[in-house]
Amino acid sequence: MTDPVLALSNVSRSFGPIEVLHGVSMALRPGRVHALIGENGAGKSTTMKIMAGYQPPSSGTVHVDGRETAFASLGEAEALGISLIHQEFNLAEQLTAEQNIFLGQELKRGLLLDKRAMRARTRELLDRLDCRVPADRVVSQMSNSDKQMVEIAKALLRDTRVLIMDEPTAVLTKSETAVLMRQVRALRDKGTAVLFTSHKLDEVREIADDLTIMRDGAVVFSGPAEGMDERAMATAMVGREMSDLFPAKTGRFGDMALEVRGLTVPGFAEDISFTLRRGEILGIAGLIGSGRTETFEGLCGLRPATGEVRIKGQPVTIRHPWEALDLGMCYLTEDRKTRGLLLQKGMRENLTLQALHSFARGLIDKGAEETALTRAIAEFDIRGSRAVRVGNLSGGNQQKLLFAKTMLSSPEIVIIDEPTRGIDIGTKQQMYGFIRGLADQGRAIVVISSEMQEVIGLADRVLVMRQGRIAGEVQGASLTEDAIVQLAMGVGQRAPVLETAQ
């Protein structure tokens, strides 16, 4: 085996009085793909930041090419060929692809920018990545996958020897993931050392040569990935045997809770009709961009929409989110960091934001808020200090808090968009339990998800969307990954949908 290009040796890291990494050692070797996995809060992000020079270790050493190195600045790590691609992209939203890729090392001709050369080089890099986005497209108008490719192109331009990626596939569709994986392999074959994190263990198994598993800030496994299957990885991550991931479906439904006919969200979804009963979990599958999120945002008054909506049999008009909430319907966003939680505020302010009026008789009763927080922490198993800003909680705890916040206004109809995006398998299992629990209490639930297993395991019935329309419905024995993919991609038979939606 070749010598490591980047290695951590017995690295610890503390934030204030709290030590979050305990004696981590691992090594990245040229020409190998290294996967770093672990539950949320296990210390993966901190480990990566230390490797890329964003943070110094509190103790222990970082070795580059075998030499002990202390990065004095980010630029130093970059100069040594180490690039970190963040989960939340680090791109200037108002600049173009080309301007972003060359940011900080613009090509010049004399005093002026050599735009033609940069344009050509950008095109070449993006072509190498199979990315068709124009070089002069502004980043804010790109899809997530295109942004990802721009990030990678940026790293490629800098002759990266070590490419570190924080959950690169979390926001990508299957086909986009395939493109990314191909690029990762190509980079590896050219001798780049690649480190990435992912919660998708099948991906890890497919592409990783080496594997490091972390739990509670310490490394529990580090070595060749060979021979580690998904179950073994999950067990090592969680520290216990994973029993059934999904709770049992009861199949007992109550009265009709929601009837939607001909819902149209201009530009995103057309003629959407479905029904939902109390106690039922309706899954919404489909590719990213098929209009799933927009449909339900439209339904809840978060964007303009037309159509007939009945709640408990009564026709209703919903133009604003608070009108939906007054009718007992609530949409829980997929984007917890920019739409779900106030990252600068504490847990208490976040928890009660949506139901704030119920804590105020004239003035806000902070004692009642604290009591509610105590109850939410216990009920949803939220871990972390009450005093800390929500932005410093791990993804899983943020998601639980978002969930608790929504449930505080006791909606009867709960629409949950991507309930487990970017959270670890242990927390996932908990979330599934919560969601099924809500249904069993007689609430009507919609779960929008890009994860096939999740939709199949959790939902009683699944609607598949494609290009802004409902492509079909599957349930019971026909609820299989195959059936969903066929509908989502527009191949195979169109299932008889609308007849069942009476």
């Binding site: 305990h22 809060g41 930041k49 920019t338 934001l353």
Partner: protein
């Protein structure tokens, strides 16, 4: 996670900073001039602070909710001009008495309310940047008052002025009305910011309006309310201001908007929104007024350098309040 013994909670610089600066100024003033802590000077400083202070309390809510209002100085001048015109015009029919004063006050409040609502409408309903809208209305009101005064000064009828003057110079128990009104506005403002749904919603919208929207907060209505409230408070400040000089001109209220914004920022409210505190704003206003006052009472530094020292304090306040970014 291993938790080491909890460190002693630190009182943050952003809380101590403005208070320490205020105390330092008071000590400095007292050392330089024995009259500084006399009741006359204290009353003078507080009354002068009241105009900007009342406006700055409203500004605190606007800024906390992620907005900005550059028009308040011009708005105050315009409202004052309008108030004087209305009162002079009503003089023949109403005569000098309480009714005409009430009419003038009502004019100021309604004009302030409408002006604030217009700003709010353009910002929340039409979705134009607050900076642009209020930059525009700043110019409009300034030019309107110049036009109303025909380039000169609008003066309240002399008899009327004498009758109205107690509203600025009078008071109860030796405390003048502007100070009383300022105190009431501050107390209500502090309670609203700290413990009302409105205050919490302002902070939520200012820190992330998308999150607020997705949490069913009526974002537009709350934003609108902050501008209307500020307009109303400009009306209140004007009611206190007109009896002081009994006139309004194109130079009335010049730079009040910047003093109000500076007071808010010195007090620790975040300029980009998301966090605000009314008590801090009060300290900010007092600091700004005291600087001028000390320069006037002493002759070490020319009073002409007032603006320079205020500017220095503003920058210094923000630098001192910067918190180190938490890791991870």
């Amino acid at each position: 996670m291993t938790v080491k013994p909890q460190a002693r909670p630190k009182v943050s610089m952003s809380v101590i900073g403005p208070i320490a600066a205020l105390i330092a100024l008071i000590v400095m003033g007292a050392l330089m001039n024995p009259n500084f802590l006399g009741p006359d000077n204290i009353s003078n400083v507080l009354s002068r602070s009241a105009f900007i202070g009342i406006i700055a309390v409203g500004m605190t809510f606007v800024i906390t909710a992620g907005g900005l209002d550059l028009s308040v100085g011009s708005m105050a001048a315009f409202v004052a001009g309008l108030m004087i015109l209305v009162m002079n015009a009503a003089l023949p029919s109403l005569g000098i008495g309480v009714p005409i004063i009430l009419l003038g006050m009502a004019t100021a409040l309604v004009a302030g309310l409408i002006a604030g609502w217009l700003n709010g409408f353009l910002i929340t309903v039409l979705g134009i940047e607050a900076f642009i809208v209020t930059l525009g209305s700043m110019g409009i009101y300034r030019s309107l008052v110049t036009w109303l005064a025909d380039g000169g000064t609008l003066s309240l009828d002399f008899g009327l002025r004498t009758f109205y003057q107690p509203v600025f110079y009078g008071g109860i128990l030796g405390i003048s009305w502007p100070i009383i009104v300022f105190a009431v506005v501050v107390i209500l403002g502090e309670i609203a910011m700290r413990s009302s749904v409105f205050g919490r919603h302002c902070a939520a919208i200012g820190s992330n309006d998308q999150v607020a929207k997705y949490s069913s907060v009526r974002v537009g209505r709350v934003r609108m309310a902050t501008y209307v409230m500020l307009g109303l408070l400009v009306g209140v400040a004007t009611i206190m201001y007109v009896p002081r000089l009994g006139s309004a001109s194109s130079s009335t209220g010049v730079l009040w908007e910047l003093e109000a914004i500076a007071a808010v920022i010195i007090g620790g409210t975040l300029l980009k929104g998301g966090f605000g505190r009314v008590w801090g704003t009060v300290i900010g206003v007092l600091i700004l007024t005291l600087i001028g006052n000390i320069l006037n009472l002493t002759d070490f530094v020319s009073p002409y350098l007032n603006g320079a020292i205020q500017g220095l304090i503003i920058v210094l306040a923000v630098v001192l309040q910067r918190e180190s970014k938490p890791g991870a």
